[in-house]
Symmetry: C2
Subunit: 318 residues, 2 copies
């Protein structure tokens, strides 16, 4: 499954959409939406024009997600010609209007989860985010014991490395057991355009959990990923290294070392400064100090419902 | 003006909207929109549902910007009850629909710039972005001569420090000439809610252009900004340090040292890893190596029309 930050439900929906297109277009007389009674707003993304609502359909818990659709280039002429306009402000060369478009040119994508479990609701509920500063000692005393106790499975990563899964998705492989890796598209990327290019390099070594484990010993591995990853992407997608943002996450979403390659023009999830570490910086830091990532305080964001945050709170670190 | 990444036209529109509300609601019979002939798409932001179009109205150049509006919480009930629905996919507890909403509940905000100059068009045109790696030597040979030759004025910064402008906006000041600074809201923040909190600390010292000039000599300045800035924000806005992302930009948008304080939950422009440097990392790096930022290669993004990019290209560095 390469990397995904989406939870199980979102993945499931994606899969459904791929497998189940036969149903598309079928009209529904028994609408889950019109019977929906709103209880509360779980999350409201004004910038992206998405809203997540919790409520009930005939006494069953339900989540409704409304998302305005992107403006379609192929319907622009019709949209501009056939809409009603109301002038709001005119000043010099600038004017603004309210545009009332015909409904079929201005759809809202609606997703209903019903009956919804507590887990669905929690997944969509806006969570507070805290920035934690983890010293090297905090890592050894709090984080490492926590991630070991959770025993997050990386079997799906091993399946990819052993070609038991997703073998047809691999774009490039260096099989060297010490410095080698496989490169494959992240599931968030539909591979239709390079504007949102997103690939993941997963190392063959199984003894490096994250940035925290890296020392100068791993410099050949990291420089190899950088140069061969960039070469493969240039060959395969004609995207040069100067158009790539290459980075690691801390905390990662799974504890087997991997590197993200995204288009620098793509606002990829997880590319903000508090979670991403540019591979070029990581390499330079390890060249200067082999124990850089063992000793430094590293800041990272955690959702309020993250079990690790609780450990930091119990220890009085947040 | 504190910091703003918006160009003049966007600011102008904001001002117009504030000053010119008297015109709101006036219907237009002579619509600039319906006569608009599309020439090309300047930019298409599918995630944010915005599109920028270049075209002509009666032989005059024009730019039209369409942006779907956020989903309004106060109209949700009406929206769900009065819309037409078409089932797309149903699988287990998940179902998706196309929702056709009444036009007045699903507006598109339309902005017209007419006649538009070449400058308007260039402002809205999508620009390629390149990631440049600048060594310490590149900085001294290419960047420093370039920014000196451009002699970007920071008079407006001096006006703030001298209380000749924006004095009423200052949230906190430490007047110390070596370690002091003023803290004020960034212009991007309307100060209506802390979800998108954004303040800037501007140092009183005038001899530090950017991250590149910092050495261990500046550690008292940086630690002072961090602790007093966090204290002031906690006092004034009840936002604790664990909810703040505190960082510098490289390249900065103006060459007088300043530090950004944003809510960690706010997807602030310029908080991506390729431009932002966490103050906590900067402090640790200078503690370990006073010449860290003199010697390191620093990666940063540049638009294709940036004059500095041309210098790097001429030198064969991109």
């Amino acid at each position: 499954m390469a990397e995904s930050e989406n939870g199980a439900a979102a993945k499931r929906l994606k899969t459904d959409a791929a497998n189940d297109c036969g149903d598309a277009g079928e009209p529904s007389s028994d609408s889950l939406v019109s019977d929906f009674e709103i209880s509360r707003i779980l999350r409201d993304c004004a910038r992206e024009k998405i809203i997540f609502i919790h409520g009930k359909v005939k006494d069953q818990d339900a989540v409704v997600i409304l998302e305005k659709t992107p403006i379609r280039q192929d319907t622009l002429s019709e949209l501009l010609k056939s809409s009603q306009l109301k002038l709001q402000i005119k000043n010099d060369v600038y004017s603004t209007y309210q545009l009332h478009a015909p409904a079929h040119l201005n759809e809202i994508k609606t997703t209903v989860v019903c009956p919804a479990t507590e887990k669905h609701v929690k997944k969509y509920l806006h969570q507070e985010v805290f920035l934690v500063e983890e010293s090297g000692e905090d890592y050894r005393n709090l984080t490492l014991p926590y991630i070991s106790s959770q025993s997050f499975s990386v079997q799906w990563v091993h399946n990819i490395l052993e070609k038991k899964a997703e073998a047809d998705r691999i774009v490039f492989e260096d099989p060297d057991p010490d410095t080698g890796f496989v490169l494959l598209p992240d599931f968030k990327w539909d591979q239709k355009q390079v504007q949102d290019l997103y690939l993941i390099a997963i190392v063959h070594r199984r003894d490096v959990k994250s940035l925290r484990d890296l020392t100068s010993e791993h410099l050949p591995l990291l420089t190899n990923i950088r140069s061969k990853g960039e070469d493969a992407i240039q060959r395969q997608y004609s995207v040069p290294p100067s158009k790539l943002r290459v980075y690691l996450h801390y905390q990662p979403s799974y504890y087997h070392l991997h590197v993200h390659f995204t288009s620098v023009e793509y606002d990829a999830p997880g590319c903000r400064v508090e979670r991403a570490h540019l591979l070029s910086d990581v390499i330079q830091n390890l060249q200067a100090d082999s124990s850089y990532y063992h000793n430094r305080s590293l800041a990272f964001p955690m959702r309020a419902d993250d079990g690790l945050l609780l450990k930091f709170k119990e220890a009085g670190k947040v």
